[in-house]
Symmetry: C2
Subunit: 168 residues, 2 copies
DNA sequence: TATTGTTATACTCTATAACTATA
DNA sequence: TATAGTTATAGAGTATAACAATA
């Protein structure tokens, strides 16, 4: 099914070329950028970023304590970048770092009760962003979109493993 | 419909938290980044970038000649950035710049025959990227995804105007 | 005075690699 | 010697603003 515009006028002033709009990869790039922008702006009001949300969510889900390397690897963050993010979370007492007595090179990161509350605030922010961004889609369309994105993620973002069964 | 993973083990080593994977906005961000990376890499082999493709496609579609401001506005590029992109295209003789005799502040940019051929090469690259990126989806799923992305773009990337009818 | 294209500047992100302390 | 975390550095990318020519 080829997308066909009504009028193919000689002058297409102000519009993105059809051949780009016809490309899902192009749309994914643009929408991904827009989504990131909206998310960063929204989290900013809470003084944090989507990256912080990722860290807190991981700690909450995975038994509250993880080493820095495990966090970085699971989320796909650079280890150097993670240090700064944890510094910020620790300054707000949302996480605690302590040396692992078993291997004193490691730091064990733990989620604090304040961190858990911050996470709940971030979840509300995320829900709001989600709702605003998908406003034009009804529930069925949202489910369909999510299913398709999950399928793409299973090859292009393997860390998302998730419920979509591997190769068909 | 809530995504539910089989085992909710105490340790989720190596995986992105469920609450992120459950978010379409999160997936859009990650997939958008991955798509951009793949696209840039692929276009690099042709010595150009997706940005160049946008410019050439716009010129081809819109009557071959446009002013720099019109190009920048239509594609959403910064005008300063566009200068460098056009320099590169002009160095390869894919476009020509000449002063507009009517308003000597303006530059008219024209697509050359070589530029048209380059555009055709870039179209092949784009088709390949598209096919690789959507490899896990069948034709029906691709159409469904495109439809949904178009709908999102109509609010978050208005320049994509396109065939999806405005408000519901 | 405002606008077009250009150039220069600065700022953000990210990636790399050095550095320490432990193993 | 290798690894975990930290810090510093450099590069790409982007946004901002100054600038010259023209309207």
């Amino acid at each position: 099914m080829t997308v066909k515009l009504g009028t193919r006028a000689a002058t297409v002033s102000g519009r993105i070329p059809d051949e780009l709009v016809a490309s899902s990869v192009f749309l994914l790039k643009r929408l991904g950028t827009a989504a990131k922008q909206k998310a960063v702006d929204a989290y900013e009001e809470a003084g944090l970023s989507p990256y912080h949300h990722g860290i807190l969510a991981l700690l909450d889900e995975g038994g509250v304590r993880e080493t820095q390397g495990a966090i970085a690897d699971a989320l796909g963050y650079d280890r150097g970048t993670l240090v700064g993010l944890l510094d910020e979370l620790e300054a707000e007492h949302f996480v605690e770092r302590r040396r692992d007595p078993v291997d004193r090179r490691r730091h064990i990161v733990r989620l604090t009760p304040e961190g858990k509350r911050a996470l709940e605030r971030l979840r509300r922010v995320a829900r709001r962003v989600e709702d605003e961004f998908l406003a034009r889609l009804d529930d069925e369309q949202r489910a369909a979109l999510h299913e398709l994105l999950l399928r793409l993620a299973s090859t292009h973002e393997p860390r998302c493993a998730g419920p979509v069964e591997p190769p068909a």
